[in-house]
């Protein structure tokens, strides 16, 4: 063949991030956090819940990089084990609403009619409902722990994805290629999956990045309120809550988990911004 053609790239292949340094920085930060969380037992030989009552509230040193808390637990160890809990719940608590909201938004936008009207009223109601009130109620019903947190965030979080996707579908379903697919007699499920979904999902992906930040904040806030993961499990929110009594003398105990939340949020925001720049061009 005389001409060489560029072989088409898959959807992920299209997402090239040339000259998008902050995006890579975000990826770097989050990857680092994930690696640290995953490799926690290899990095620290302390037990995150193991108490050492002879060495409480020790300042940072060679043995305890970030000191110990009021029960002599190694703060650094608790931070990296806490990352496991917070990142896992954070991602899980976004994945479920993402899937639920996207599916409902797709169906609602495509079919319209009474289903659409009903769903949108449910969305309105959900938005009007205060999140923490719902979360607290659920924790009492389900019992504290990751399940209750994920359930609470999912019950509230799906509405954003639903609205984003529905709005995009309303625009996309009037596009010629969707009309063409419809006219050529393809099954509806296939039109939704192959012709609509890949073309409307980018906004939801972008939103999910900032949504992870919000849900980690929610987990931490619930932890702070004592409604999160039950103690003594290491978790950033409960670490802040337990450590706040020592903020004047051993300031690092409550501050470091807070800084971790900020760093995680920063990394995810950079990824989100990078995606916006790439996909909304």
């Amino acid at each position: 063949m005389s001409t060489t053609l560029i072989r088409g790239k898959s959807l992920t292949g299209r997402l090239k991030f040339k000259g998008n340094g902050s995006f890579y920085l975000g990826i770097g930060i989050i990857s680092l956090l994930v690696i640290i969380a995953a490799a926690a037992p290899l990095i620290s030989h302390y037990d995150p819940t193991g108490q050492d009552l002879l060495n409480t509230l020790v300042p940072p040193s060679r043995h305890h990089w970030l000191g110990t808390d009021q029960l002599g637990r190694d703060v650094f160890t608790r931070i990296i084990y806490g990352a496991r809990i917070d990142l896992t719940i954070g991602f899980a608590a976004v994945l479920l609403p993402f899937i639920l909201g996207t599916t409902l938004g797709l169906v609602s936008g495509w079919f319209g009619g009474w289903f659409d009207s009903l769903l949108m009223r449910i969305v309105d109601t959900t938005i009007a409902f205060p999140f923490y009130v719902l979360a607290i109620a659920l924790v009492f019903i389900v019992g504290p722990g990751p399940k209750a947190i994920i359930l609470a965030i999912t019950l509230v979080g799906w509405v954003a994805y639903c609205r984003i996707i529905r709005a995009a579908v309303l625009v996309a379903k009037e596009l010629d290629y969707v009309h063409a697919a419809k006219l050529s007699g393809l099954p509806t499920a296939r039109i939704l999956r192959k012709h609509l979904l890949p073309n409307v999902i980018s906004q939801a992906i972008i939103f999910s990045m900032s949504d992870i930040v919000l849900s980690i904040l929610a987990i931490v806030s619930l932890g702070y309120l004592g409604l999160g993961v039950p103690i003594p499990t290491a978790e950033w929110g409960s670490m802040i809550q337990e450590g706040q009594a020592y903020i004047l003398q051993q300031w690092w105990i409550p501050t470091i988990p807070g800084v971790m939340v900020v760093i995680t949020g920063f990394g995810l925001s950079l990824i989100g911004d990078g995606l916006v720049r790439r996909l909304n061009k």
Binding site: L5, R7, Y177, G185, H195
Partner: protein, 338 residues
């Protein structure tokens, strides 16, 4: 007489707008036989695209068919369930849109888009569908079809995209292709290539074509029959040769006159003054009368219907005497030309 492939009987479409009810189509009848090629010509807002959309069931939410019947091979679409109707339309009709980039899915390779209908709807095997897609790509004149199978729409030029769109329209082996201004978005040389392709396809595949356009020259190239649309109705219909050489409706005449002509040098092009009528208001008299050079009192009071005039039909009170009057009247001086 055989049953026509597609038949439209006295179709009326209304659109709900913020200014009131707009009677976009006010009674259209049309018969298309297998392999026939017809053109629907009119200016913007005359209802030509809405006609196609109404037939295909693609009307926007605020528009609806108020009366009339659409039959495919004698089967009325009204009598079918939504699913059966969609299946029948999909089997018989393919469509090519004006804007090829909007008509292609940006995140799917062009080959897969062409192979999709054979694979999913006709139930062919993956290999056979793939092979068919490559055949179709070759048929519509896409060079290096094998390699281009794996290319995304944005990697192709405008002309090639329109060829891909035509290949997709052909992929379900339709008997009729609806072309909604398929060449308007292309530059003139590419336009000529695409038209030639459509003409070739008509001969090779024996596919009928319904061509909607505002470009008279395009219709002249590709169609057997022409339907001139004005204000939601056909005002003149007939063979292309007849209509172009002996127009029997003043609107057709004016349109032809308004087209630039290479043979005759004119200082200023003829233009049709005024605008198309507001169809939210009731039409009294001939809708073209306010812009017509031949209009008389009767044109303002009663709306003419299609009448046979020579070999064409025309909806004009003066069609009969129109041919004679044309020779007597220099239209450029007559009033509407200025």
């Amino acid at each position: 007489m055989s049953t026509p492939l597609l038949s439209v009987r006295d179709l009326h479409v209304e659109i709900q707008t913020s200014r009131g009810l707009l009677k976009a189509i006010r009674g259209i009848s049309l018969d298309i036989d297998a392999g026939q090629s017809i053109g629907i010509v009119g200016e913007s807002g005359s209802g030509k695209s809405i006609t196609l959309k109404a037939i295909l069931g693609l009307l926007p939410k605020n528009a609806r068919i108020t009366s009339g019947e659409i039959l495919i091979e004698g089967v009325s679409l009204n009598s079918l369930s939504a699913n059966k109707r969609a299946a029948l339309l999909a089997e018989k009709i393919g469509i090519v849109f004006q804007d090829a980039i909007a008509a292609l899915n940006p995140v799917m390779t062009v080959g897969r888009q062409i192979a999709e209908v054979p694979y999913r709807r006709l139930g062919w095997s993956k290999e056979k569908s793939h092979q068919r897609a490559i055949e179709l790509m070759q048929l519509v004149g896409i060079p290096n079809a094998e390699e281009r199978f794996h290319v995304y729409p944005h990697q192709l030029s405008g002309g090639l995209r329109q060829r891909v769109a035509i290949a997709i329209a052909l992929s379900g082996n339709p008997q009729l292709i609806f072309c909604d201004e398929p060449t308007t978005a292309l530059d003139v040389t590419i336009q000529a290539q695409v038209l030639r392709l459509l003409m070739d396809l008509r001969q090779k595949e024996k596919t009928g074509v319904v061509f909607v356009t505002h470009d008279l020259a395009v219709v002249n190239e590709i169609c057997d029959e022409i339907n001139v649309m004005y204000a939601g109705r056909f005002v003149e219909r007939g063979g292309v040769q007849d209509c172009f050489q002996h127009p029997v409706h003043p609107y057709t005449y004016s349109l032809l006159k308004a087209a630039p002509d290479m043979e005759h040098q004119v200082e200023r092009l003829f233009s049709i003054l005024g605008e198309a009528p507001d169809l939210t208001k009731p039409v009294s008299g001939c809708p073209f009368a306010p812009r017509c050079f031949a209009a008389t009192d009767i044109c303002l009071t009663s709306e003419p219907t299609l009448q046979l005039v020579g070999s064409s039909t025309s909806a004009c009170h003066h069609s009969g005497s129109f041919m004679q009057s044309l020779s007597a009247l220099d239209v450029n001086e007559g009033g509407a030309g200025r």
